[in-house]
Symmetry: C2
Subunit: 211 residues, 2 copies
DNA sequence: GGCAAACCATACGCATAAGTATGGTCTCTG
DNA sequence: CAGAGACCATACTTATGCGTATGGTTTGCC
């Protein structure tokens, strides 16, 4: 049903062909709405919601505002389009991918590992969390939280937890996840290296997933 | 151990005498720098860092900008003063208070309970976390994170954890804490009622603190 | 090759919020 | 009770960033 590497957003891995001098001005002919959305996701992941500004984006795309307002009526529209794209492309695929695993404990372990594998792929989510007071992103992260929480809760329930205990453990796991994102991306806490990080993930799994 | 009153910042509980019509304009004579700092902490807790604006603050204090710029050279100065006040008043007291408990497991449990007792008292910290990209608050939350993480790590180590395991468990506990703040204050996730919340805290303690 | 439509540049308007300049009023103290 | 310093109001200036108006250039297509 799905193809392999779709888990990781193209924008985050720079899969998009880096044809001309990508650093700044890259005058690759005309632009489409999609180009703007991808660029928006890039700066969203790198610098947060507030950094998604039309004049700034236009500069990095080698054009001016005039271009932008042909493709989008407003900045909000771009933000919404970009977030929608991200949400459907990444979010839905993580869910559907993990949901297929029958054994609940294995499903949980896989979920934790997936989340940990490519931290980069969660920069957008971290940025959205950070800007959750924004009227546009608030419903998004609320929706995503509900969905992921439900996934976790069900897995724990299937793994033998009492309904309430499953709910609590799911909440614990999910808050640990988003707290980790918040404290590691772009600030705070001493950054971990690769093996320390792997060891940490193992510890989390050992602690939060029943043997 | 119900000394909890000191835990909760005065600003959050409105301990300050509510002499005249506090809702809006409250013309209580002249103002001091401290008044501005307390008011700043109020809106900081209620509406985040961005909401700490001088004209807005002036309105709620019943004065104009002219007053503000007599007490402070800049908005940043106010923010720094307010955060400093909060950090020293609240943060130091939680630490020093909990550090006195000799038994490590009891110390951990007390820490979790303290944190959970008055969610209100952590609105400021949640607001700071949210604005951690701000150049002023970034070092603050970094400093606080290090301190709290060290406290947790030491407690786990004393409780018999291997050094690395203690570090990991501490990180897990701390990220769960800040993730919880992030997802509950002012957005996201369905709000919990009182008893569900208490049950959740118990679950967290049972899961993260060794028996 | 010429005309629409798609795409873009330039030059504005406008709102917000910080910060400045200047002069007023209160209050304490000698 | 008078003057000095503390406190505040009013009226600016300035910077940023969204959005608009208008016209220019490119591209697909007959």
């Amino acid at each position: 049903m799905e193809t392999g590497a779709l888990l990781i957003p193209a924008t985050l891995l720079q899969t998009r062909p880096m044809n001309e001098a990508e650093s700044k001005q890259e005058p690759r002919g005309r632009l489409s709405a999609t180009d703007w959305e991808l660029a928006a996701l890039d700066v969203l992941a790198a610098n947060g919601v507030a950094a998604v500004a039309v004049e700034s984006l236009a500069r990095t795309l080698g054009v001016t505002k005039g271009s932008f307002y042909w493709h989008f009526p407003t900045r909000e529209a771009l933000l919404k389009a970009a977030i929608d794209r991200w949400e459907q492309r990444d979010e839905d695929q993580v869910i559907s991918r993990v949901e297929r695993i029958a054994e609940p404990r294995e499903r949980l372990r896989e979920l934790f590992h997936r989340v940990s594998r490519e931290v980069q792929s969660h920069l957008v989510y971290a940025a959205l969390l950070q800007a959750s007071d924004n009227a546009l992103v608030q419903p998004v992260i609320e929706r995503i939280s509900k969905r992921r929480l439900a996934l976790l809760t069900e897995a724990y329930a299937e793994a033998g937890f009492e309904p309430l205990a499953a709910k609590h453990r799911a909440r614990l796991a999910y808050t640990a996840y988003s707290g980790f994102l918040q404290l590691n991306q772009r600030h705070g806490m001493p950054r971990m290296d690769q093996e320390e990080y792997a060891a940490y993930v193992d510890h989390v799994i050992a602690t939060l997933v029943p043997a």
